[in-house]
């Protein structure tokens, strides 16, 4: 509305006041960065603040413990990988890493598969029961699942799933369903229904239509959901802390607390453990920056 007022006013003003036009300060301002060079320095300075601690973590992991204590600000010259060998074998990080990978990849695969099927049905079926089911799934976006840890513990106890990586994997798969269903239903709804009508005329079954036609079309959304769910599952701490008792089943975050407790003064090995825990996420970030950023903004709709 304001724009309409302005655009009618401007020429009117020009015709009634034939004197020299006011200097137009608008044009050069449009593309000039706000705050100028000073703000630019500030922005890059903050970027350094975000990154330097992470770089210090990596750099310190390549230094010996004695070196770290005598010169806290030094660089890894020459770099040594002995702290990695120590963390990986004597610190059990090889076991923790394998467990984390198994649980996270399994959970993301199961969660994305079942959520994709459910989302397709929720987007296409017209019966009223599906509206009700959709709100049931979406209510999960609001539920702080960590507060239900006690009943979950007794549920796992009853099912014999304490110390089970499979149990933990299913738990994560279930907790990821609301977000995945939410994002994927939106995507399926944007696809034209003519696609399925054409497939049905050609004699395709519902499953064939879903698997051969619809799933390939939502592949970008699948990537976003899978990548974005990977991070919180990989990093989760409370569930493995409570549901896993045996050290050979631990995932990285819990393994790390044990290692930190026992080796609090072996700084370089701790730094190596921190890097080992973080590396898969950095690799993921490098190959899938777009999906992670998309997932973060999709969280806004929550």
């Amino acid at each position: 509305m304001t724009t309409a007022v302005v655009s009618t006013e401007a020429p009117g003003e020009a015709s009634t006041t034939p004197v020299a036009p006011r200097p137009r300060r608008r044009a050069p301002r449009v593309n000039r960065p706000v705050g100028g060079a000073g703000a630019g320095v500030l922005l890059w300075g903050y970027a350094a603040l975000a990154l330097v601690p992470l770089l210090l973590m990596v750099s310190n992991s390549f230094r010996s413990n004695a070196d770290l204590i005598t010169d806290p600000l030094g660089l890894p010259a020459p770099p040594t990988t002995s702290s990695y060998a120590e963390a990986w074998t004597t610190g059990n990080f090889a076991t923790y890493f394998g467990n984390s990978l198994l649980v996270t990849v399994g959970a993301v695969a199961v969660s994305t598969s079942v959520a994709t099927m459910a989302a397709y049905a929720l987007a296409r079926a017209r019966s009223r029961i599906f509206r009700w089911l959709e709100s049931l799934f979406l209510s999960g976006l609001m539920l702080p699942i960590h507060l239900a840890i006690l009943p979950i513990f007794y549920l796992f106890d009853g099912l014999g799933l304490i110390d089970s990586r499979l149990g933990l994997m299913l738990m994560y798969a279930a907790s990821g369903i609301p977000f995945s269903v939410f994002v994927l239903t939106t995507f399926f709804r944007q696809l034209p229904e003519e696609l399925e009508e054409a497939a049905a005329l050609d004699g395709a079954t519902s499953w064939q239509t879903f698997w051969r036609i619809m799933v390939p079309l939502v592949r970008p959304a699948l990537a976003t959901v899978a990548v974005f769910r990977f991070v919180p599952i990989w990093n989760d701490f409370l569930f493995p802390l409570v549901l896993l008792r045996r050290e050979d089943k631990y995932t990285l975050p819990v393994g790390l607390t044990t290692f930190f407790g026992e080796n609090a003064t072996n700084y370089s090995a701790v730094f190596a453990g921190l890097v080992i825990t973080t590396i898969p996420l950095i690799v993921l970030f490098l190959v899938a920056t777009k999906q992670i950023v998309a997932g973060l903004t999709a969280g806004m709709a929550k």
């Binding site: 724009t3 960065p33 630019g40 975000a50 310190n60 599906f130 239900a148 975050p253 825990t277 992670i292």
Partner: protein
């Protein structure tokens, strides 16, 4: 799609969700209303378990302190994170060429596990060999080289600032998206009318960003009330030093799994129920206020 086919497609997700999310969530509430002897459920207890939280040790001392820390964590995070996040997003908005790159850099710490972040900063802030204090001393600021995590006065603020540092990419992205949605014509028009950059921002852009600020605030509230892994990494399950970094979810964890009290299940479930009501109620009220405000802008 036919109803029966649809139900077959939904069934696996529904089964997983019902067993591992809905069933525990629903029973979580029921636990709080019964008497417990170890893992044996006794008679219906009414609000007895809730009364325990306000009358018995250690709750009478630990609970108010933990709630205060959660509230400080929320308010501190909200003020600092919104101010920095909005400033950065606003500055980035006029720099389309470097925007993507910087947004990505700011979001990096978000990826890293809160446990890793907690231990990393514990090591960086170590009074004996930490690079932060070494740097401060090197710059001639010896009086600033404090035992950050050892002193109850500073420890909570370390937790808050580190949390802001980890999550800053989130408001930067959200405010960036919201700024992209502010019609260019509005600020243009204001400038034609002689408004300065600052005036255009505070009178036009900022009011239009209120919904985004509200969303970030609600998400920050939920996040702050649930804080667990980061304080655990800094201060363990007891919130060292001297309970200075204790939070409600840590108290809940201690009660449920470490206390050994006979009625641990009852009182910890009551605590979880209260926390849930606080989170849900807070988020609900905030969203309602926000909706009303949004209607006022659009009207």
């Amino acid at each position: 799609m036919r109803r029966r086919t649809g139900l077959v497609f939904v069934a696996p997700a529904l089964a997983l969700f019902a067993v591992f999310v809905l069933y525990p969530m629903v029973t979580a509430f029921s636990y709080a209303f019964f008497q417990w002897q170890g893992t044996t459920r006794g008679a219906f207890a009414g609000l007895e378990n809730f009364a325990t939280l306000f009358t018995k040790a250690p709750f009478t001392t630990d609970l108010p302190r933990a709630v205060l820390h959660n509230v400080l964590f929320f308010v501190g995070t909200l003020l600092i994170q919104n101010t920095i996040g909005l400033t950065i997003a606003y500055l980035l908005h006029s720099r389309p060429r470097t925007r993507r790159m910087l947004q990505t850099l700011y979001a990096m710490p978000y990826l890293v596990s809160p446990i890793v972040i907690g231990y990393l900063w514990t090591l960086l802030l170590s009074p004996t060999f930490g690079p932060v204090n070494t740097l401060l001393t090197g710059l001639g600021l010896e009086s600033w080289a404090l035992p950050w995590l050892g002193d109850p006065k500073t420890a909570l603020w370390v937790v808050i600032l580190v949390s802001v540092w980890q999550w800053i990419g989130f408001p930067v992205l959200l405010y960036g998206a919201a700024l992209g949605g502010v019609p260019e014509e509005l600020t243009e028009a204001a400038r034609v009318d002689g408004a300065s950059n600052r005036q255009a921002f505070s009178r036009i852009t900022l009011p239009l960003l209120v919904p985004a600020v509200g969303t970030v605030s609600v998400l920050t509230f939920i996040f702050a009330m649930e804080a667990f892994a980061l304080p655990y990494a800094f201060g363990g399950s007891t919130g060292n030093p001297a309970g200075a970094t204790d939070f409600v979810s840590l108290l809940f964890y201690r009660t449920a799994f470490d206390s050994g009290a006979a009625d641990a299940i009852g009182s910890s479930s009551a605590l979880a129920t209260l926390l849930f009501l606080l989170i849900f109620g807070g988020a609900y009220v905030a969203t309602a206020v926000l909706r009303r405000h949004e209607r006022r802008i659009t009207a």
